[in-house]
């Protein structure tokens, strides 16, 4: 039944294509061109503004048409969806993957090696430390969209009222914690995020730790190295002294603590400045952003926190078109403008040339005129380029969260929780057949 008609349809399409192409060429607008003649690629993302970016891209040229599908965020099922689609052989041409999960998708054969597709021109437009994050064993597996340096968000109004200033070192941060506990009624300096393995990893990265590394053709896993111990003991001290709350950040309780002034600082990526504006418009003028405290005053080390990348799937039959779309998305000012048109955001682009676009789009009033993008720019330069995420990071984070939930004075220690995450990760890596070199202590 399907034989002859389909051949006829094909022939008809073949005859018609040049004609339509010619018509399109002299038509009044590119929009009138039917999508059927363009190279079609599919794109999955959970990022806000993706729909706008895709619409702008489709309107900007007439060779490639992107079909966009909004998917749930990674932990809400987006990554499971991507993994299952890849197993079934129908992954989208372009997928959005966050930094920590990229090695897993590269190992599972979902993300394609992009070395032959990415142009030197595109590489030159992106921050080298961001590109390092998506390069494994000399192969680039995805193209970074943004790089969010860790910063200190603090309640400037309360700080000013009590004559406090933003701490520059972690020692100052702890002292400030004591001052706030003693002098600011009902407040603590911050909350230790019991669902914040990614934040904890960022602290460790800043301190010079190296949870995962690729050495001698093996994955080296050392989640309790000396810098990790230092960070764990530091936070354990804050918890034991009662200087911080222990709260999951993804909870009503945390939301209330930020809203009612129970906690006065948030230690998160630069994106959180925009998230704060959206979540609590009523706190306009109360917050400011400062660099994250350093271990020594003249240190200049930092980690990123959050941030997304775009990968081309191994299944993709049109990798060149996929890469062209990605390059436009991460490096073209119109792409960033379209993304920001979807709502307030303080995304820090991995392409430094786009920083001005972000600065112009941001309403300066919420942060009392503070030039956030210049701060982010300076901080992004400090971000380490040699941090490596592990092959099963969602799961490693999950086990850490399970154990962070039990952390408290006289209960499980922060370090035990991190050690448990390593113990819960190693068997996974062995079962995958990877060469693993686990370092204990």
């Amino acid at each position: 039944m399907s034989g002859p008609p389909s051949r006829r349809t094909l022939l008809a399409a073949g005859l018609a294509a040049p004609l339509i192409g010619a018509l399109g060429g002299c038509g009044p607008s590119e929009g009138s061109l039917s999508a059927g003649d363009r190279t079609r690629i599919t794109f999955w993302s959970a990022l806000r503004g993706s729909q706008e970016v895709v619409a702008a891209f489709n309107a900007s040229q007439d060779r490639i048409h992107v079909d966009f599908e909004q998917v749930p965020t990674g932990t809400q099922g987006g990554y499971a969806k991507l993994g299952n689609a890849a197993r079934a052989g129908n992954a989208p041409d372009v997928a959005t993957i966050e930094y920590p999960q990229l090695p897993g998708f590269a190992i599972d054969g979902v993300a394609r090696d992009l070395n032959d597709l990415v142009t030197d021109d595109l590489r030159a437009q992106l921050l080298p430390q961001a590109l390092e994050r998506t390069t494994f064993d000399g192969r680039l597996y995805s193209v970074p969209l943004d790089l969010a340096p860790m910063v200190l968000h603090y309640r400037k109004d309360v700080f000013d009222h009590h004559g406090l200033r933003a701490p520059r070192t972690w020692a100052e941060f702890a002292d400030l914690g004591r001052t706030i506990r003693d002098r600011v009624e009902g407040s603590r300096i911050t909350a230790f995020p019991t669902d914040g393995a990614s934040q904890f990893a960022a602290f460790v990265c800043q301190a010079g730790g190296q949870w995962f590394d690729i050495r001698d053709d093996a994955w080296r896993v050392a989640m309790t190295d000396a810098p990790t111990r230092r960070v764990a003991e530091y936070w354990q001290g804050l918890i034991d002294e009662g200087l911080v709350h222990t709260t999951p950040t993804n909870s009503q309780q945390y939301n209330a603590q930020v809203s009612d002034g129970s906690i006065l600082t948030r230690l998160t990526g630069s994106w959180d400045a925009g998230a704060q504006m959206n979540a609590r418009p009523g706190q306009a003028g109360q917050w400011a952003v400062a660099p994250l405290p350093q271990w020594e005053e003249d240190d200049a080390l930092l980690s990123d926190h959050g941030g997304s990348t775009f990968a081309v799937s191994t299944d993709s039959a049109r990798p060149e078109a996929a890469m062209e779309f990605i390059a436009w998305q991460v490096a073209h000012p119109d792409a960033f403008r379209a993304r920001l048109s979807a709502g307030t955001s303080t995304q820090f682009p991995a392409a430094p040339a786009l920083v001005d676009v972000g600065r112009e789009a941001l309403d300066p009033d919420y942060y009392d005129g503070q030039d956030l993008y210049s701060l982010f720019d300076a901080e992004a330069a400090k971000v380490r380029d040699d941090w490596v995420w592990g092959p099963r990071m969602s799961s490693t984070f999950q086990v850490m969260h399970d154990n962070f939930a039990r952390v408290g004075p006289g209960r499980m220690s922060v370090l035990d929780a991190v050690a448990a995450a390593q113990e819960g990760t190693i068997p996974d890596l062995h079962a995958l057949g990877l060469n693993v070199h686990a370092v204990h202590g």
């Binding site: 190992i107 192969r139 399970d402 962070f404 819960g424 068997p427 079962a431 057949g433």
Partner: protein, 286 residues
């Protein structure tokens, strides 16, 4: 017998063989894992990984503790209720039977949602009432979470098992009961010394089914895990398997854990059956 074998092969043997196959032949990502993957024979690698995983052993520990608390409690409570109903001590017997059986007809996932509501601080009327009486209890805390799940399981399964016992008790010859009354045994003595031993095979069956149900515990903790960090993503062996396959994309590991769970279930069931049979044999010999 043909339909039976078709079903046996289709819904039991084929999945088991697939799982065993998956646990030995899996996608191999050698070295750093970035090269092309191939399906190869990996020997006992997946099994070694499962046994080397403290989170899996922890999950097994959780269901074993659960068994030790839940099964004796369930058998004791449902047997007591059945004996009470059978002795005629309870009025409105059909109504009570219906009331106790009704929870069993509620699907497990709905039951878990109902209890989740009753357990969650802030929205639970039970916790509110207790707080009003100056009792602060976190029903989803580290020490209370297993009892909380046991409570859901008892609520769901009590009526069903009671009906099994009650039906078995109805089959006890009335003349035996009358004889014990003539011999001067009170209702309690009759229940414990005459009726209960006679429905022993039903007790063994209930223990067996409850054991298997517990080892596969999944729905209730999976749902509760959304509202308490104490229940982690690998809380029970079934949750571990689910997590390994669908979060960690590690099908070899999931298959090996499934086979281990199957072997544990078969072994424990065998022990229970042997234990009850040996008792029966000894009595027959004595």
């Amino acid at each position: 017998m043909a339909p039976f074998f078709v079903l046996l092969v289709g819904v039991f043997l084929a999945p088991v063989i697939t799982a065993v196959w998956l646990s030995f032949f899996t996608d191999d990502r050698s070295g750093l894992g970035f090269g092309p993957e191939s399906t190869t024979f990996v020997g006992l690698r997946s099994y070694a990984a499962v046994f080397g995983d403290p989170t899996f052993l922890g999950a097994l520990g959780v269901v074993l503790v659960f068994c030790l608390v839940y099964i004796p409690l369930l058998v004791l409570l449902s047997l007591t209720l059945a004996l009470l109903l059978d002795s005629g001590a309870a009025r409105l017997r059909p109504l009570i039977q219906l009331g106790l059986f009704l929870p069993h007809t509620v699907p497990g996932i709905i039951a878990a949602i109902i209890w989740l509501y009753l357990y969650t601080p802030g929205i639970s009327p039970v916790v509110d009432v207790l707080a009003g009486a100056d009792v602060t209890i976190d029903l989803l805390g580290v020490e209370t979470v297993i009892p909380s799940i046991v409570n859901i399981a008892i609520w769901t399964n009590l009526g069903y098992n009671m009906v099994i016992f009650y039906t078995a008790l109805r089959a006890v010859p009335r003349e035996l009961v009358e004889a014990s009354v003539v011999d001067g045994a009170g209702p309690v003595r009759t229940a414990l010394s005459v009726k209960a031993p006679l429905i022993r095979s039903s007790v063994v069956m209930v223990v067996l089914f409850s054991l298997i149900w517990t080892l596969q515990l999944f729905t209730e903790p999976m749902l509760l895990s959304q509202s308490t960090p104490v229940i982690n993503s690998r809380f029970t062996p079934s949750m571990y398997i689910y997590d390994a396959a669908f979060t960690r994309n590690n099908y070899g590991l999931a298959a090996a854990a499934s086979v281990i769970l199957l072997v544990c279930t078969v072994a424990l069931s065998y022990v229970v059956t042997r234990w009850s049979n040996r008792d029966a044999r000894r009595r027959a010999a004595g």
